[in-house]
């Protein structure tokens, strides 16, 4: 009888309830995880990523689950590991540790880019190459937020990782953060994906505030037709040029363009479908769960996370403003042939940002169709944020 009792006590002592009683912050993290699940399921905020991230957050914060050991990757307290302790990871690691290696080694984000490439049409960009400039202007959010983060006493590498939220590109934000400030990965990924889902709420007021009714009503002329040859040459040329100038961007831009070349060439239909569907879905699950697992009470429930959330919002705001203001400049330079609203699509968030331009434009003039015009800056934004990521990694990596 006593043996049964002892076993019973031992099971209770090893249960998660004891852990929760010892560290009540776990309960707060579980509540945050459930709230994010609510946002994903009920509100439809980027559910494909927010759902696995939120569930990963819950798994990692169940005491005793040992699903991930972030101390093997980033050290404990002030201890800074130059390299993850691979032996500990392989000997004692859980599922989260194994999946997180794909983030740490920078494997998942480029593979997600490969899938995005298979679904991206660079036609509107090739048809109107000037839209690349709008994609560049919208990166203003990254660099202004970098300044803001520095002002709040974040280190250079941390500020760069926070700034990249302004690129409105989840995989890029994860890629940069995993290299420069892995301890902030959870907060930055949650901020980036939450704001990407909020693009239709964040952008319109800024777009309306910076443009006149007359500018919003501008009807743009039809885009020229782009030949298949041009669409095939573009990804090859873009990869070579960008990678030669900025080798740190090669992996992101290269994978994006490889996916696009698969699509445009039309000769590898099978692998193009795999890259854009099955592979991307598998990587999305791995990425979401492992990023969610990196959030622990002592790294997530901090003032830093609140600051990152606020800075992330500013990053999106400044990015949108940069694109719209440059759109106004182009409108002025072309004597009213460019509708400045397409500038806001320069923050990546494909295709949501382009849809927002279309919606705001059509609210002013129902005959106006800005969607295809906005897709140019939109895909240019993906290239722009990958370039900005390369620059920041080069400087702070």
């Amino acid at each position: 009888m006593s043996a049964i009792w002892q076993t019973f006590i031992s099971i209770i002592q090893n249960s998660g309830f004891t852990g929760l009683a010892q560290e009540p912050l776990y309960i707060v993290m579980l509540v945050v995880g459930c709230f994010l699940l609510y946002l994903a399921i009920v509100r439809g905020f980027e559910p494909l990523l927010l759902l696995p991230i939120a569930f990963g957050m819950i798994l990692a914060n169940l005491p005793g689950s040992n699903i991930i050991h972030m101390q093997y990757f980033i050290g404990v307290g002030d201890e800074v590991l130059l390299h993850p302790s691979w032996i500990d990871i392989l000997n004692n690691g859980g599922l989260g540790d194994m999946l997180y290696m794909g983030v740490k080694l920078g494997i998942y984000p480029p593979l997600i880019f490969l899938g995005i490439g298979t679904m991206t049409d660079f036609g509107p960009l090739i048809s109107n190459p000037k839209s690349l400039l709008l994609g560049a202007a919208a990166q203003l959010g990254i660099f202004t937020t970098f300044l803001g983060a520095k002002w709040l006493n974040f280190s250079g590498a941390e500020a760069a990782s926070i700034g990249i939220i302004g690129g409105a590109d989840g995989p890029t934000a994860i890629f940069v953060t995993s290299r420069l400030a892995p301890h902030l990965l959870g907060s930055i990924a949650v901020a980036a994906y939450s704001y990407m889902a909020l693009v239709p709420v964040i952008q319109p007021p800024i777009m309306k505030a910076l443009t006149t009714k007359k500018e919003r009503q501008i009807v743009m002329s039809q885009l020229r037709t782009v030949s298949k040859t041009e669409k095939i040459i573009f990804p090859i040329l873009c990869t070579i040029i960008v990678s030669l100038i900025l080798p740190d961007s090669a992996v992101l831009v290269g994978m994006l363009m490889l996916g696009n070349l698969m699509k445009e060439s039309g000769v590898v239909d099978r692998i193009q479908k795999t890259a854009g569907n099955e592979l991307m879905n598998i990587i999305t699950i791995f990425l979401g769960v492992s990023v969610g697992c990196t959030t622990s009470a002592n790294t997530f429930l901090t003032l830093e996370t609140v600051e990152i959330i606020v800075l992330g919002l500013l990053a999106f705001g400044f990015g949108t403003a940069g694109g719209v203001l440059f759109g106004k400049l182009m409108c002025w330079a072309t004597h009213g042939k460019v509708n400045p609203l397409i500038g806001s699509a320069g923050v990546s968030a494909v295709p949501m940002a382009a849809r927002v331009s279309q919606k705001v434009g059509q609210a002013e003039n129902p005959q106006n169709f800005l969607l295809m015009h906005a897709m140019g800056p939109n895909v240019a934004g993906v290239i722009g944020s990958a370039v900005a990521a390369g620059i920041l990694i080069n400087i702070f990596g």
Partner: protein, 140 residues
Amino acid sequence: MGTSFMPFLLAITPEPNDLTVVITGLLLVFLILILLTLIIALQGKFFDSLEAKKKAKSAPAPSAPAPSAPAAGGNVSAAAVLPAPGAVTPEIVAVIAAAVAGMEQGGFTIRSIKPVSRAAQASGRKAWGQAGVQSNTAPF
């Protein structure tokens, strides 16, 4: 990290000051994308000229005026049958007359058919193109 072709800009000592990062970063993003813009624009011009040469080589098709014929159903006036030359063919008039007949149920008169609206002219799309874009972008 990898080396760059612009070491004077990027390989700056331990941690460059904040303004240097911002200016260098923005400048480089713009320079790289401007370079891409120029290359794509040149490529576009090259392919456009190639296309123009191909068109010039092929013989131009003779443009005969479309014969006009009265459309069946309803009272279609002569003005509707003979609109701007070459713009509205009798087949289109017949389709429009049939569509209106289907909607109106009773008697009707089509007095004129204009080829494109002002808004459509401004965007460079014909009426059918405009309707197509409208239906495709409506969910957004």
